[in-house]
């Protein structure tokens, strides 16, 4: 099955290095084929936006010893941290106090299979897709076959169309629109109908005064221009960075060299260690036999309350 390759074809247009602890900018997150009819085009998907950009990411620390914090789950009855995955179950409260628990492999059986193909089911006029449906955009990067990719770009562009495809990404099933942006294909996940609210009850008051509309039109005329992304610059982040630099320079704070956080399994007794090893073997086997199902990650279940 296709995998996200290490051989990256992406070239970010801005040459800055990526922030510490993060993946490279615009690195592909998926690769496979894009198909319509019997045409299949090798492509990769890369993020088209990065919301973490322009926002300083902090870690949480323990003020007393400057150690980094991590999230754990605690049993409120025993007042103890529960970190053994075998002791944790996923449940839904069907009635007050009555829980139905669901096993990982039961969820896995129901989980959408990781897509190896983005299959365009049909094409629709681009103008028919209300931007309200647009959720998250990805760049569709051509692989070895540039010609069919270009062919699709040209046809979509000329006809003003977008392709609609069902696609599983991050263990979630999405409907997506594939459209042209800057002479390339872009895949945008679409919101489901149940995510959209209506503007009911927000009706605007009747027929507006013609004179008022006229003066507003003239105000609009004065401020009319090309869309300029530079107007969207936000300096909050720069202020935060300046503050950090100042604090660092002032040296008022200890630049603590914290001890490396002990690895979970190493910190435990031998018994715990062998149990942890056993669990990893089990997990490795399970993931090999069920390699195609990305859902219900046992490893993350411990730390995250995850919605299915």
């Amino acid at each position: 099955m296709p995998r996200t390759g290490t051989r990256s074809r992406t070239r970010g247009t801005d040459g800055e290095g990526s922030a510490p602890g993060r993946g490279g900018k615009g690195r592909p997150i998926w690769s496979g084929t894009l198909s319509f009819g019997l045409i299949s085009i090798p492509v990769a998907l890369a993020p088209a936006v990065r919301d973490s950009e322009g926002r300083v990411a902090f870690h949480l620390l323990d003020k007393r010893d400057m150690q980094r914090l991590r999230r754990e789950l605690m049993c409120p009855v025993e007042e103890k941290v529960v970190d053994d995955p075998d002791q944790i179950a996923r449940g839904v409260e069907v009635q007050a106090g009555q829980w139905v628990t669901v096993e990982d492999d039961e969820l896995r059986a129901a989980a959408p299979k990781r897509s190896t193909t983005i299959e365009i089911l049909d094409f629709v006029p681009l103008a028919d897709i209300d931007p309200l449906y647009y959720d998250h955009p990805y760049l569709v990067i051509p692989g070895s076959a540039l010609k069919p990719y270009r062919l699709l770009v040209d046809v979509l562009q000329d006809e003003g169309l977008a392709g609609i495809a069902r696609f599983v990404l991050h263990a979630r099933e999405h409907y997506t629109a594939i459209r042209v942006l800057e002479d390339q294909l872009c895949l945008i996940t679409l919101r489901y109908e149940d995510e959209l609210r209506t503007a009911e009850g927000l009706e605007l008051g009747g027929e507006p005064e013609a004179k008022l509309v006229k003066s507003m039109l003239s105000a609009i005329g004065k401020l009319k221009g090309k869309f300029d992304p530079q107007q969207l610059e936000d300096d909050t982040n720069e202020k935060v960075i300046a503050l950090i630099k100042r604090l660092q320079a002032e040296g008022t704070e200890p630049k603590t060299e914290a001890r490396p956080a002990a690895k979970r399994s190493a910190a435990k007794s031998d018994d715990d260690l062998s149990a942890a090893l056993e669990a990893s073997v089990k997990q490795a086997r399970a993931s090999r036999s069920a390699a195609k199902q990305p859902a219900a990650k046992t490893a993350t279940k411990r730390t995250r309350k995850r919605a299915a």
Binding site: R50, Q67, D130, E173, C186, L204, L232
Partner: protein
């Protein structure tokens, strides 16, 4: 609908008090609670010290900027608080643009805008002015200590304010098509193929089958019925000669076309949804 925020737009010497409402909500999913297996007690999230594993009380938690994996510049929350943009109800108008010029990658989150007390007439006038000029209003405001940029445009008979990402959050990529020549026959056939596969945008038919399957599992388990644990295999695609494949696809598309692929149900287009909004 409950308003999230109240603000004031000033245009042409007129103050328009408005309210913001969420236009989208989270997708309905089965949400699980993590339980202690032995007695089904819901577990609680706690922050623990990375070295000792001991829970850390809230008052001992501070923020740190990572210089490297283990070196941090501690930042006093009071210092950060000082950087919070001054709270204000003003929605500052920056410009009016053709909404088609806004790359959809800038759109982050949509809100509906409705009139606040005494602003109904004025907002109706703004709606009409935006519709007549075919523009979107690019603006800036501070909501809950965060500065936002947005584009206000008509959405049928309503007004929608989409928050816009900062320019550095939108990633661009250069693609060269040098040396790629498209054959006229290929283009023509591809056009026919795409046309044959063109239908209506029918978002109400787009269902999340996974959610339905998970709900089914829970319903069965609640009744004490067994649930499957197996999985199916996925199919692979074919490759080959471009023109040949295009022609073959076209034949197929014209023969037993989308009708077979899509279930026919009450169709509703985006345009209709907009008008009824």
């Amino acid at each position: 609908m409950r308003a999230l925020w109240r603000g004031i737009i000033e245009l042409a010497g007129v103050e328009i008090p408005v309210k913001l409402y969420a236009a989208v909500q989270p997708h309905a999913q089965v949400s699980f609670t993590l339980l202690h297996k032995k007695d089904k007690t819901p577990l609680r999230q706690v922050m623990v010290n990375g070295a000792t594993g001991e829970p850390v009380p809230r008052e001992e938690i501070i923020k740190g900027y990572p210089l490297s994996k283990r070196r941090f510049v501690p930042v006093d929350p009071a210092e950060l608080e000082k950087l919070v943009p001054e709270s204000s109800r003003d929605i500052k108008v920056l410009s009016f643009v053709d909404p088609a010029e806004i790359d959809p990658r800038y759109y982050a989150r949509p809100y509906f805008v409705g009139p606040d007390a005494g602003g109904a007439q004025e907002l109706a006038a703004l709606h009409e002015a935006l519709a007549k000029s075919g523009t979107a209003m690019v603006c800036r405001w501070v909501m809950r200590k965060i500065q936002y940029h947005g584009a206000l445009a008509t959405e049928g008979s309503a007004l929608m304010l989409n928050t816009l990402r900062q320019p550095e959050q939108v990633l661009h990529r250069a693609q060269s098509y040098e040396g790629i020549e498209l054959d006229q026959r290929e283009l023509k056939t591809a056009r026919y193929l795409v046309e044959a596969l063109t239908g209506e945008f029918t978002p109400d038919e787009y269902k999340d089958e996974y959610r339905e399957r998970v709900e089914e599992i829970i319903a069965r388990k609640a009744k004490g019925l067994p649930v499957p644990r197996q999985t199916a295999k996925t199919a692979r695609t074919r490759g080959g000669q471009l023109l040949e494949l295009l022609e073959e696809s076209l034949k197929e598309a014209r023969g037993d076309k989308p009708a077979a692929k899509r279930p026919t149900s009450a169709k509703r287009t985006a345009a209709k949804r907009t008008n009824s909004a």
